[in-house]
């Protein structure tokens, strides 16, 4: 199998040299982090006042974890480590309770991000000769722009299609002989199920590869998608706090995602004790940025569960391979690739006065796509007697939710007392989707 590299020297660097490089970059990152009030305080408390206090990679364990809540508390400027004049882009993502988080990028930060993505793309065998159709959401969500700039850097022909409008996607794929797409696994399944109905056949397409990310899925789903389109599908991992896509990606051997360890320090910890786990053991992924100047983040608890594959990959890359994401340590839901916390939904519902105290969140499948259904009890004192008023209420709930969680839910209104009451901890989330 032909193996392509974007930056061969660093991709096959030997482990000892990689660790040396990591230590140098970790020191730089700590120095950079100390420019922010947040880390200055936090690091001082554990005895770190300069990069010199980091003497070995093991010293990273002295640094406390950074959580999503920390990022929220720092919103909007608390983690900015450069002058705002040097910031060329920012991405926000919704926080768990309404307050967003923000990541800034300098020109150089964006450059090294797209370099990482370019590595991922070449690792799958895609080159400048390919036509890349990006079906991920553009905008504040990092999935779209992240792959976009990486693919442009590689020199592929990029079609910035964005998500949805399946017929147009297929038409673009046919007209421009798309060879590689980037989408959520559920959207790929959806396209597969609509292909013939929309008047296309596999023969119309030149598709060879798909990059699948933004939601967890199984090996069986990968196989199903590969069979459906007669393509190779590659697993992708990233999160906005760590730039976005390009943190870890599969190579042509499809046996785990190479995590770019010259750009991130990868730890797998026991989510309960915070202790480091050995290779092969499943735990929570913790990542430290090594190259980002604008928003350095130390030991970020991703809440994603995975393990590190043992041994070397046949592609000779020395960067260790992360397994599929097997779950979460929190209650985050992934709906059509978008991250949603039940607490965000609750927060929106509870600020609408016509909404009663009880609600339920249902997740179902509508074909291959996810459907979010919110069942809400209405507050009887607010009921004036009009059907119109109830319709308006329904629209209001939908609009407010859409503004906060970015997805379109359906809303069902119920009489007070109609939804089950819970003694103790209420069960409000019912995920009825078959596992992908």
């Amino acid at each position: 199998m032909a193996i392509n590299y974007w930056d061969k020297k660093i991709e096959i660097i030997d482990r000892a040299a990689l660790k040396k490089l990591q230590l140098k970059l970790l020191k730089e990152t700590v120095q950079q982090a100390l420019k922010t009030d947040f880390y200055k305080n936090r690091l001082r408390k554990c005895g770190i006042t300069s990069a010199n206090d980091i003497k070995s990679l093991k010293d990273i364990e002295k640094i406390p974890f950074t959580t999503k809540d920390d990022l929220r508390e720092c919103y909007p400027y608390g983690l900015l480590a450069v002058s705002q004049d040097d910031v060329v882009r920012l991405h926000t993502s919704s926080g768990t309770t309404g307050i967003p988080t923000v990541i800034y990028h300098t020109k150089n930060d964006l450059n090294s991000w797209s370099d990482l993505v370019a590595r991922c793309i070449l690792a799958t065998g895609v080159t400048h000769k390919d036509v890349f159709q990006n079906m991920m959401t553009y905008g504040l969500f990092t999935g779209g722009l992240g792959l976009h700039y990486g693919a442009e850097k590689v020199g592929a022909t990029v079609i910035p299609a964005g998500p949805g409008n399946t017929k147009r996607q297929l038409q673009l794929m046919k007209d421009f002989s798309t060879t590689v797409v980037h989408a959520t696994p559920s959207y790929m399944l959806h396209i597969g199920s609509k292909l013939e109905e929309m008047g296309f056949s596999l023969k119309d397409l030149k598709l060879k590869k798909a990059y699948l990310g933004a939601e967890p899925y199984s090996e069986n789903t990968r196989k199903k998608i590969e069979k459906l389109f007669h393509i190779d599908a590659y697993n992708s991992y990233g999160l906005s706090e760590m730039n976005g896509p390009g943190v870890a990606f599969e190579c042509v051997y499809k046996c785990g995602m190479h995590t770019w360890e010259d750009a991130y320090i990868l730890e797998i910890i026991d989510p309960k004790t915070g202790k480091d786990l050995p290779e092969g053991k499943e735990g929570e992924i913790v990542l430290t940025t090594l190259r980002r100047k604008a928003t350095p983040i130390l030991r970020y608890r991703t809440r994603d569960l995975a393990f590190i594959h043992k041994g070397l990959c046949k592609c000779h890359r020395t960067h260790r391979r992360l397994s599929r994401i097997t779950g979460r340590t929190d209650d985050m839901l992934i709906v059509n690739g978008v991250n949603v916390f039940p607490s965000q939904i609750e927060e929106v519902l509870m600020r609408i006065p016509q909404v009663g105290n009880n609600y339920q969140i249902f997740l179902k499948k509508d074909g291959a796509l996810d459907k979010l259904i919110i069942k809400v009890e209405i507050y009887s004192k607010m009921f004036k007697g009009d059907l119109k008023e109830i319709d308006i209420l329904k629209e209001t709930i939908k609009d407010e939710l859409r503004a906060c969680i970015v997805i379109h839910p359906s809303v069902e209104l119920h009489e007070p007392g109609a939804l089950p009451v819970w003694e103790g901890k209420a069960k409000r989330v019912f995920d009825e989707r078959p596992k992908l």
């Binding site: 209405i378 009887s380 009921f383 004036k384 007697g385 009009d386 059907l387 119109k388 109830i390 319709d391 069902e412 209104l413 119920h414 009489e415 007070p416 007392g417 109609a418």
Partner: protein, 143 residues
């Protein structure tokens, strides 16, 4: 000369309407007129009863979402064109009807219809000016 309608928010669920009606029946409340405005998952039951204040209290204390709504009851000649005559007056005066429905009983040879107007006071004013008979609360209770 407004009269009172009770609006009840009801989920589309088997037996829900029966529960409401039997509750009223048990409490000796008589339904004079009824209509249901519905969507896929819920409906609004609209009823005119002989004792509206008492009825709404009973409904609410039994956990139902209910409220009182002002409506206007009109006597209409029970012959072809009777309703059209009234609608013509309303239309010419730009009075908007949100919904309307008929009474079960008759007070005389005339039919009784109830209307929910966007602007109830102005509607009554126009109707009176045009000598249309508006039925009051007492008459409804005695029907």
């Amino acid at each position: 000369m407004k009269i009172t309608q009770i609006s009840v928010f009801l989920e589309n669920r088997k037996g829900r309407l029966y529960e409401v009606c039997s509750l009223l029946g048990k409490n000796k409340i008589n339904i004079r007129a009824l209509s249901i405005g519905e969507t896929d998952e819920f409906g609004i039951l609209r009823i005119v009863v002989d004792k509206p204040e008492e009825a709404v209290k009973i409904l609410k204390s039994n956990g139902l979402v209910a409220n009182l709504t002002d409506i206007v009851a009109l006597e209409i000649t029970d012959k072809p064109g009777g309703l059209a005559g009234i609608l013509k007056i309303l239309s010419e005066n730009s009075i908007n009807i949100e919904y309307m429905y008929g009474f079960i009983e008759k007070a005389s040879d005339n039919a009784i219809l109830v209307f929910r107007f966007e602007d109830t006071d102005r509607a009554i004013e126009i109707l009176k000016k045009n000598k249309i008979k508006v039925i009051g609360k007492a008459e409804i209770a005695n029907l």
